[in-house]
Amino acid sequence: MIYADNAATTKMSKTATDIMIFHIKETYGNPSSLYGIGQKAKEVIEEARSDIAGVIGADPKEILFTSGGSEADNQAIISAARLGERKGKKHIISTAFEHHAVLHTLNKLKDEGFEITLLDVHEDGIVRAEEVREAIRDDTCLVTVMYANNEIGTIQPIREIGKICREKGVLFHTDAVQAVGHIPVNVEEDNIDLLSSSAHKYHGPKGVGFLYAKKGIKLTNLIEGGAQEKGRRGGTENVPGIAAMAAALKEAAANMEKNAANVSKKRDRLIAGLKEIPHSAINGDEINRLPGNVNFCFEGIEGESLLLLLDDKGIQASSGSACTSGSLDPSHVLLAIGRVHDVAHGSLRLSLSEDITDEEVDEIINSVKEVVEYLRSFSPIWRDLMAGKKEFIL
């Protein structure tokens, strides 16, 4: 089996699993309790907070534990909106290809009367910092741009955007779910005010993540309850999950340079191999992308059947086709970079992990070639394209 869907989720590392199991068994006290085992649990989460803060260049007080990336995105955006609203600022800038945790939150605010500007991400899948500057108005309360796209892996000019936001005095949030643990992220150097992250994207457990909020930014609660997280999120803390998240992140950070260099090489090998398939195209900028992300469109075939046949060959991947999204439209990300419906249905995302070998990459290439050729052999679109009755798009 070759697991190539690491942008969806990753396998937990041994370090993280061991720590999680240890705390599930041993650290069962409630961190809010005064007695020994409660205080022990409190120490565990505070140490985790400190470790996480250290990795991203934050102060521990600026880290808030959440149930994952989606909750962090929701809380960051809602908080910035509430702060803006009080000053009569109800304009938010984002991009057309954000994660739905961001886009759907923005839609909710739009219904409340906020005005949302979604910036173009161009054919290369990269937003232009200067276009952020041009879009900022006197009533802009937030700019939210993802660090790296979850489908096509393109890395955004976060530092430049952050600098512009600082100059203009506008809050800047980044959904860094795909970036943290994979490429260097530093909230200080990158001029970030709010950042969302999720543990299971870097070999940590599911159901836990964190929100970084720069000192002085008042957060709005999504969950009311006790005084946990300094009153910013009610509910007894997920002690084993938080400890395992910190362990996974520390491990990812310590090996980042080595891993990124290694995975990038495999990625480039995979890209070169898939490019040999006629009438195919890579989605998003080829260079400026996450180390493990490969995303292609193949003309004349549909993504779900491609995924099912790859699964039969022991390869797990994902697609932006409508059939896999459960809606009639293909991925909003592919449409945002200008792919037309016809070819967006035939997309394939392969997201590699650090342990992938050259042999496995070659196996993926051969399998994709075989399956694409097979599906094209009885595709009426492919027949029309080959007969010259239709023009190739790719």
Partner: protein
């Protein structure tokens, strides 16, 4: 639970009657690339009996399986019987389809109906 029944996976992995009939007596094509599904059916008819049927499909697993099953259901049948084929019969023969995939069986029914209509029109001409 798996996304599809074993029957669907079988017809998807080993589709029956794949291909083209060059001198078909009736051809029907439905769907469009924008929606992500296109089915094309070819019929060879002798003495009002469907002697041969082939299909080509661009689409998801259930679209391919529905095409395959629909061709199996009408092969060797009289034209009058094939006209009665419903999407429900296709879905049932596949041991069911997920709700949001039922349109795939509708496409199969429509493609066969169009191919039969094409045959009737050619006969009149």
């Amino acid at each position: 639970m798996a996304l599809y029944s074993e029957k669907v996976m079988d017809h998807f992995r080993n589709p029956r009657n794949v291909g083209v009939i060059e001198d078909a007596d009736g051809v029907g094509e439905v769907g469009n690339a924008k929606c992500g599904d296109i089915m094309k059916m070819y019929l060879k008819i002798e003495d009002e009996i469907i002697k041969d049927v082939k299909f080509e499909t661009f689409g998801c697993g259930s679209a391919i399986a529905s095409s395959s099953m629909a061709t199996e259901l009408i092969k060797g049948q009289p034209v009058s019987e094939a006209m009665k084929l419903t999407n429900k019969a296709v879905a049932e023969a596949l041991d069911g389809l997920p709700d949001y995939k039922m349109h795939c069986s509708v496409l199969a029914e429509e493609a066969i109906r169009l191919a039969l209509e094409d045959y009737e029109n050619k006969k009149k001409a």
